[in-house]
């Protein structure tokens, strides 16, 4: 296994010194695609913020062997559309940490912005007003901003939230495509496990109510015992059109395994 970019070592995560979830052991290395799944309010974003260093761990340790460039895509609703920024200006913000204070963006930065916009397929919207874009276009603009940082680690918080199924699929395909030919490691938070199953290679289940934190390769996390720990009931995994769907069941899934369940 390659050297980790970032890791949480036996960490407790929470706010103002109060832990909401403990025993978090998580490592992200180059080339990883980790999906963080759990119910709304389950602590996924808290784990992500702690991993990114914006929230200190309540206990344990955040380990970063060396400084890394981070790209971050927040929940879309957190970015206020009232600000009169053009798409290009928003994406250029991804370059701000690289520039540091007192330096203005140059030609190379603008080139990186256009490249990032091209990668997410909205280069033609460079001159548009961010606040006037559709939800899916805004999401692509925010992903472009994260890519403009030329990140080693790309973190996304609910990137498909509020999207119709077509836009969600397009976003997931876009994310999967980012790693073709050696892109950044990706950590994606989602309350919808189906979003994650389409693209992630490893998955973490997070639910503060149940004190649950469990992480492993996708195949391992799709085993009935792992899924039951997340959903608190039997589940069945259904394959359709090359995609996986998790169906929580009302009664014990005895015999379901023989009908395509796992």
């Amino acid at each position: 296994m390659s050297e980790p970019l970032v890791a949480l070592e036996d960490a407790a995560v929470g706010y103002n010194g109060r832990s909401i979830l403990s025993g978090v052991r998580l490592t992200v290395a180059a080339g990883d695609f980790l999906g963080v799944v759990g119910p709304n309010g389950g602590g996924k974003t808290t784990v992500l913020r702690t991993l990114l260093g914006t929230l200190p761990p309540v206990a344990g340790r955040l380990y970063r062997p060396h400084p890394i460039r981070i790209g971050y895509v927040p929940q879309r609703e957190q970015v206020d559309g009232i600000w009169p920024f053009g798409v290009e200006e928003v994406v250029l913000m991804g370059r701000v940490p690289r520039l540091g204070p007192l330096r203005r963006p140059g030609a190379a930065d603008r080139e990186a912005v256009l490249r990032a916009l091209g990668r997410v397929g909205i280069r033609d919207l460079a001159g548009a007003r961010y606040g006037e874009l559709s939800g899916g276009q805004r999401q692509r603009a925010l992903i472009a901003r994260a890519l403009a940082a030329e990140p080693e680690l790309l973190a996304l918080d609910e990137p498909a939230s509020g999207m119709d199924p077509g836009a969600e699929l397009a976003t997931m395909e876009l994310l999967a495509g980012l790693q073709e030919g050696g892109g950044p490691a990706i950590v994606m938070v989602s309350h919808r496990i189906e979003s994650v199953l389409a693209v992630a290679r490893s998955i973490a289940f997070v639910d503060r109510e149940r004190g649950l934190f469990r992480v492993g390769p996708k195949a391992e996390m799709l085993r009935p015992d792992a899924l039951e720990a997340l959903y608190g009931r039997p589940v069945r995994v259904r394959e359709e059109g090359g995609r996986s769907f998790v169906v929580p069941l009302d009664r014990p899934a005895s015999g379901a395994a023989g009908e395509g369940g796992r």
């Binding site: 913020r49 990114l52 260093g53 914006t54 981070i70 790209g71 971050y72 895509v73 927040p74 957190q78 970015v79 206020d80 009232i82 600000w83 009169p84 920024f85 053009g86 200006e89 928003v90 913000m93 991804g94 701000v96 940490p97 520039l99 204070p101 007192l102 203005r104 963006p105 901003r145 940082a149 973190a155």
Partner: protein, 280 residues
């Protein structure tokens, strides 16, 4: 109504107050873009009242100590201390467990009440209170104009040098923090510029015009669909027009200066509002 000839002859009376009004209008108008976009309009109202409270507190101490002459620099220093501390507490380091509206509203109403209570104890300076609160701008000493110009230069310099950090930290603090920006530091810098801008302008123009200049010119610019950078220039221009225009109109029509400035600033927002309304 005063004649134009009379106005020009009285140049020595109005040139300093008019200059102070123009610089204040430009400075507050531009800063107002952040005030409006960050949805912190009432923070600026509370800061204006805190600054006024600082002035009243200094006047009270001067009277208690039987200080005959006014000490403008001390008054300004105390007002600035009140405003800067308020800016940091209400803006940059606001306690997250209490709703923003509650802390800002409490600061505004308590500061307002203390201004009234403090003013009721003033003997000699009580007549100044109307001007301090509602706007006067008739008699502005050169020292005040210098203070306003220095503050405007500092604030402009800070905003030009750190424009991208201030914008990023304000627009999307979570991402800015994740990418390594020190969001609290940049928030503090932003609110410090607001905190130092309010006291000298409030003493020259009054609390009401200052609050108006921090909201109306920026609103007018944003209603016209100005881009982020253009909005600063446009809001500063609207601030200048409202301040200078309001001053001149009040001179000729013999209306209260501060209120006239506010009315003109509000009028400047009408075209943008009408255009938005027409577009649906």
């Amino acid at each position: 109504m005063t004649s134009l000839a009379g106005f020009l002859e009285a140049r020595e009376i109005w040139e300093i107050p008019l200059a102070a009004s123009i610089v204040s209008g430009a400075l507050l108008g531009a800063l107002g873009v952040y005030v409006v976009l960050r949805r912190t309009v009432f923070v600026s109202a509370a800061l204006t009242q805190l600054s006024t409270l600082g002035l009243v507190a200094t006047l009270l101490v001067e009277e208690a100590l039987h200080v005959e002459a006014e000490h403008l620099s001390e008054q300004l220093a105390v007002a600035m201390a009140f405003s800067v501390v308020g800016a940091l507490l209400l803006g940059a380091f606001r306690p997250r467990r209490v709703p923003a509206e509650a802390t800002v509203g409490a600061a505004w109403v308590v500061a307002s009440a203390l201004v009234v209570l403090g003013a009721s104890r003033l003997v000699h300076a009580a007549h100044d209170l109307g001007g301090i609160v509602f706007g006067n701008a008739v008699a502005v000493p050169v020292a005040d104009l210098v203070a306003i110009a220095v503050v405007a230069a500092v604030a402009t310099g800070v905003h030009l040098l750190f424009a991208k950090e201030l914008a990023f930290a304000s627009f999307d603090p979570e991402t800015a923090g994740a990418l390594g920006l020190r969001v609290r530091l940049w928030d503090a810098v932003l609110f410090l510029t607001l905190g130092i801008a309010i006291p000298p302008t409030a003493r020259a123009l009054g609390a009401l015009p200052v609050f108006a200049f921090l909201t109306l010119p920026a609103t007018a610019a944003l209603l016209l669909r100005a881009g982020f950078r253009t909005a600063f220039a446009l809001a500063a221009a609207f601030g200048i027009v409202a301040a200078a225009g309001g001053y001149v109109v009040s001179w000729f029509w013999e209306t209260p200066t501060g209120a006239t400035m506010v009315a003109l600033a509000a009028l400047l927002a009408v075209p943008g509002a009408a255009w938005r309304f027409a577009r649906g």
